[in-house]
């Protein structure tokens, strides 16, 4: 699931400086689940903006809306349709996809991102999300017992580990972080499939990851 985090208020404030009537748009899907851009967060940011507007004189008028999924054109137009006329700027609390979808539909209006889209990940516990997949377009998990070296190894090595691992199997860059390849070693050893780790793997084919990616269904 896409995990995002709200930008610091200072950054948001500077973005919308000079605009009076602003529409804050939340999204009910991924960013709700990771507490970044759901209806509640829209309320909180809007409150902050209203508090902010009173303080240095320029009266802001803030409108709030939340789209079912900001990455679907139909859903955006259905939700925002009538709310946009006399709006000067749109502040999207969706992920990067949401911001650009809205920007494409309402090309005459400046659209600003209120979030930093961070990674594809999962909750480790309530309120803490960790990255698990880099969407690298060429999944390698079958050869590592289900632990992704592209994301969880600081250098993304396919023939790991590097020479810099710390005592206790920790990563070179952070004594708290487990070295992905030590984890892979332990799991494959438990499953008796260490041959997978002994195999030499060619350099990665980065063609498969050409940005921006595009996938077309055959039957479409």
């Amino acid at each position: 699931m896409i995990i995002a985090e709200r930008k610091p208020f200072e950054e948001i404030k500077n973005m919308i400086a000079g605009y009076k009537r602003i529409l804050v748009v939340g999204c009910r899907t991924c960013v709700t689940i990771c507490w970044a851009g759901g209806e509640k967060e829209v309320g909180i940011l809007s409150s902050q903006l209203r508090l902010q507007s009173g303080r240095n004189g320029n009266e802001l008028s803030i409108l709030e809306a939340t789209v079912e999924r900001q990455c679907e054109k139909e859903m955006v137009t259905q939700e925002l349709g009538d709310k946009v006329q006399d709006i000067e700027a749109i502040l999207s609390m969706g992920c990067g996809v949401g911001v650009q979808t809205i920007a494409e539909i309402y090309e005459d209006k400046p659209v600003f991102p209120a979030l930093n889209t961070a990674f594809v990940g999962m909750p480790e516990r309530e309120g803490l999300w960790i990255e698990m997949c880099a969407a690298c377009g060429d999944c390698f998990l079958d050869r590592t017992g289900g632990i992704c070296p592209v994301v969880r190894c600081a250098k993304g090595l396919l023939n790991g580990p590097c020479g810099g691992t710390r005592r206790g199997g920790k990563c070179e860059i952070d004594p708290e972080k487990d070295c992905a390849w030590v984890l892979i070693y332990r799991r494959l050893e438990k499953q008796g499939r260490l041959d997978l780790m002994r195999k030499y793997y060619e350099a990665k084919n980065y063609r498969k990851v050409k940005r921006p990616g595009k996938i077309e269904a055959l039957e479409a």
């Binding site: 250098k155 993304g156 023939n159 580990p161 691992t165 860059i173 030590v182 990665k204």
Partner: protein
């Protein structure tokens, strides 16, 4: 003119290499001094490639200097700063200027260096780099195109005998040996039992490869502890830290040289491996004292 490193590997039974750290700038005078000092005392002079991800005068440039001053350079290449195109181009250029020894490294991550915001490359890793050099040696580039004028590199790899857990390291090291390696220069070694276990493993896998044990000169107790936390792949045991701490004020370096000399002497006498690779980071001028302390 120093003998080619490949011959030395075959002929000599105890090989000594040292490390020359390039300057952070373009004033090469100090480097030239170190080269002059060491070129006849060691069988090969490694030149680090932005060591610990700290930007410095390029390894390739320093190797040319070593060559010009009659030393035998060993080019170090990391996969952090260049992608596969740049690395192949550098290797062609270096060979054309007479540099035919290369140490293939993965390289430290940018997080430990002084440009932490840089985009790390890591297009290849050290094992893939060794395969790449082999394809160049066979007259083809990485994707199989014929080369107008090939290369013939003597290939080196590194290893970390004091890693814990050690098994994953050995699996990776075996992949390097399978790819074909002429010499090995290990990370800093302080516990000779670990080195012995490592050598046992290596001898089983590949009889002919020459292994040089890495010796990092200790300068002070604080520096040793700092290295344990910040320098990847180095682990100084507590007893050496205590020994350094006991050294009287100002005598830290000489105590460090004594320890290094003891290690080298023991390795040589017990024939644990085929030589040593002395890394006196920032104190290249003291390398001769270490050799002398080791009776070489």
């Amino acid at each position: 003119m120093a003998k080619p490193f490949r011959e030395t590997l075959k002929k000599k039974d105890f090989i000594v290499t040292a490390e020359a750290g390039p300057v952070k700038g373009s004033n090469v005078t100090n480097m030239v001094e170190h080269i002059e000092l060491l070129k006849d005392k060691v069988d090969g002079l490694n030149v680090t490639d932005n060591q610990s991800a700290v930007m410095r005068y390029p390894s390739l440039g320093t190797c040319l200097l070593v060559k010009e001053h009659g030393g035998e350079p060993i080019l170090q290449i990391t996969c952090r700063d260049r992608n596969r195109l740049a690395i192949q181009a550098d290797l062609l250029f270096a060979y054309s200027r007479g540099i035919d020894n290369v140490l293939c490294l993965t390289g430290d991550s940018v997080d430990v260096g002084d440009h932490k915001e840089a985009k790390p490359v890591f297009d290849l890793d050290s094992v893939q780099l060794i395969h790449l050099v082999h394809s160049l040696n066979s007259g083809k580039d990485m994707v199989g195109n014929e080369l107008d004028g090939g290369v013939d590199y003597c290939i080196g790899a590194s290893a970390t005998p004091s890693a814990d857990p050690i098994e994953p390291q050995l699996i990776k090291f075996d992949k390097k040996l399978d790819a074909g390696v002429d010499f090995v220069q290990t990370q800093a070694v302080y516990d000779l039992n670990e080195l012995k276990r490592f050598m046992e493993h290596t001898r089983k896998m590949d009889g002919k490869v020459k292994v040089l044990a890495g010796i990092v000169l200790l300068v002070g107790a604080k520096m040793a502890m700092w290295m344990n936390d910040n320098v990847p792949g180095i682990f100084v045991p507590q007893h050496f830290i205590d020994e350094m701490a006991e050294a009287p004020k100002g005598k830290g370096v000489s105590r460090g040289i004594e320890i290094a000399g003891r290690l080298v002497r023991q390795i040589k006498e017990e024939r644990i491996c085929d030589g040593v690779h002395i890394m006196a980071i920032g104190r290249e001028e003291r390398v001769p004292d270490i050799l002398e302390a080791a009776g070489i």
